[in-house]
Symmetry: C2
């Protein structure tokens, strides 16, 4: 393995609670390999195009900084939602990128993100191949949505699932505190526009919600109300977990039903209420039962106060391995996780052609969705349980968790 030149690492797309563990892994691998300059892209490829570059040996000095980095939410380097244009007809963008790479003698380019970010790795490695450029481009998987193909699961998912299972468990106990003296329905809206992995995590607590609706199967509002009425005959505190992306049989998002054109907000805009708020209003309106909605919102991806240690370690490893594989001369690949045994939980890592990964979405298998589309099976629990195991405890100071910042 002969190392030439420098490395740069970028973070892209919506952050996860462990995206910075992958950065920590890539930094540690680069230090171990004796790379001279370890650069970070400030705000991903978008910032890189403005030559906004960070010296990571300065920004992350020692092992204390690495530990704190692993406990820092959001993208430490800053992120972006910038998608590279197709190569043909946009050569000037690529020429600019490669001229900056050459200017800083960057031979290794790691990009940490989801489907769109893997597309960036694909385009750059394709361009390098077309033009005989020596730089190596590797993808580091990341997404709370868990929708990247090939890899068994994505770093970021385990911690989001742990946050959801933990918070839902607490809300369910709270919700039940008035016992037989009050009947109520609580709708928990969970992220996931197309894939139901996050919503399925609602089944990971030891107290279970009554209904779980994923976007993989179509949602029947009338059947939903029928089930609520049936549940209310024997239960007082009914809890429903629902993906933000559930759709009707005709393909419309359920949340669109809550935003008919006659519902303009005070500023004349069509109001998009969430699916949770819509369903809570529907339950109250059609059953008379008190109902409310809770949205877990951004905390699903940034609550570093509840991080799965398994997830954090795997995130670190994929970052480390992406760098190592690049140093070995590999390019145009993403690191993948292969689970060789679920009990005991054992994994190996590999790399896979980025062309098979970029822009492909992986959904929850349909045979894991049971009870006429209202629950998830034991197969899902067996799949997801190991991913939420262990805790990376925050470092508290002055009563709040501490983070590393640039």
């Amino acid at each position: 393995m002969s190392i030439k030149g420098n490395i740069i690492i970028g973070q892209s797309g919506g952050p996860t609670a462990v995206i910075n563990s992958s950065l920590a892994g890539a930094i540690e691998a680069s230090k171990a390999a004796g790379i001279k300059k370890i650069y970070g892209m400030h705000y991903g490829i978008e910032g890189f195009l403005h030559e906004d570059i960070i010296d990571l040996r300065q920004a992350v000095k020692d092992s204390d900084d690495i530990s704190l980095l692993r406990r820092t939410p959001s993208a430490f380097l800053g992120s972006c939602r910038y998608k590279l244009p197709k190569i043909e007809g946009n050569e000037e963008v690529y020429e600019k990128i490669f001229s900056i790479l050459e200017k800083y003698d960057i031979q290794y380019f790691l990009y940490n993100g989801g489907n769109d970010s893997m597309d960036t790795v694909k385009m750059l490695s394709d361009y390098a191949e077309m033009h005989n450029k020596p730089q190596k481009f590797m993808g580091i998987p990341k997404t709370i949505d868990n929708d990247l193909p090939v890899t068994d699961h994505c770093p970021g998912y385990g911690s989001a699932a742990k946050y959801i299972a933990t918070s839902l468990k607490e809300i369910m106990v709270d919700n039940d505190c008035y016992g037989p003296y009050r009947t109520s329905v609580c709708i928990i809206e969970i992220m996931g526009r197309h894939a139901g992995w996050l919503t399925a995590a609602a089944a990971l607590g030891d107290n279970k919600p009554d209904l779980i609706y994923l976007p993989e199967v179509s949602f029947d509002p009338d059947d939903f109300i029928k089930r609520i009425k049936e549940l209310a005959k024997t239960k007082n505190a009914i809890v429903v977990a629902v993906s933000e992306g559930i759709k009707l049989e005709d393909g419309r998002f359920v949340c669109e039903l809550g935003s008919s054109s006659d519902k303009l907000d005070a500023f004349g805009h069509k109001q998009l209420s969430g699916v949770g708020a819509y369903l809570a209003a529907k339950v109250s309106g059609e059953t008379g039962i008190k109902a409310r909605a809770i949205e877990f919102s951004t905390l699903q991806r940034c609550a570093t106060h509840v991080v799965s240690l398994t997830d954090s370690d795997e995130a670190f490893n994929v970052g480390y391995l992406a760098a190592q594989k690049a140093f070995e001369g590999n390019t145009g690949c993403m690191i993948t996780i292969k689970v060789t045994s679920r009990a005991p939980y054992l994994v190996t890592y590999d790399q896979f052609d980025i062309h098979e990964i970029a822009n492909v979405e992986r959904k929850v298998p349909l045979d894991w969705i049971i009870n006429d589309g209202t629950y998830v099976s034991e197969e899902f629990i067996k799949y997801a349980r190991p991913l939420i195991m262990g805790e990376l405890e925050p470092y508290y100071s002055e009563g709040v968790p501490q983070h590393l910042s640039l």
Copy 2:
């Protein structure tokens, strides 16, 4: 101190993350005093009226159970929102309560709650005095709202404040991840209908929100928009913490503005959007800046995965002392916390006449609200900081926190 008969403990009102620590304290004091039967009210005074009574020596067996109880959210015994009717004309309700007390030889009655629950303690101790009944009635303070008078602060507040400060800090870092490439406004809606203690906790992180609005002072929507526009000239990620209970100068709740009569939901009901959603729509509509709202919702009171150890210990102590004071023959009082020094943080406990406490609300001092009603002062920080210090770590099993249940 001569102990006669048995004790009963009840939990009432909205739970807190440490209400069960107070229960643990009362149980431990009762065991230490050698009380034969330690009873719990199943669903507060409402369940008690149905003679729904729990044997707490069975339900909380040993020190392991006590440790787990302190890490359990919601009201372990179940709670209620039942307010006793006034004594005059409703003697039969009181006769029923005292007949049940006599049936179980209950001499000590502890009730853990906020303003309404202290009213229950007041009525029962008044009735006992009027009718020469021997039973002792003591109040244990509890409320995330921190609005009980006399006591320096209320158990439950510190943990809710720690959850808010922690989650807000994470959301703020997340919100800032696109840097100069995206301007956005994030409105965080925090509990507190009349008192701003919880919203003020938004100032406890080391990264601060830009604006903090409490219900103690009136809210000017035009000035708010002006400030947002001004902030947007120099900042990309603007964060505003707002109490659900902020009001206009004319006394109307700001959230009412988002629910004009022409905005009916799909079921013909007047739609009450939260103040956060309303303000986010207002910002988008009037400035063109992307804005969204996040509601911390129920997790503010039930997130036992972020508990202040200081708060949990104080909750335990007020529970313990309420029992001890009752055994000493005191009645018609609530335990209070007196802070004798804020640095180092030192407290003593006392008891105070329940008549001065029941139904009285304590708000944030007006001179702690600064910058024309858009921020809180350093005095607040000094007041609240010690209350969020220390962590009571959850016990995780199978990847999620474990709780004790009946």
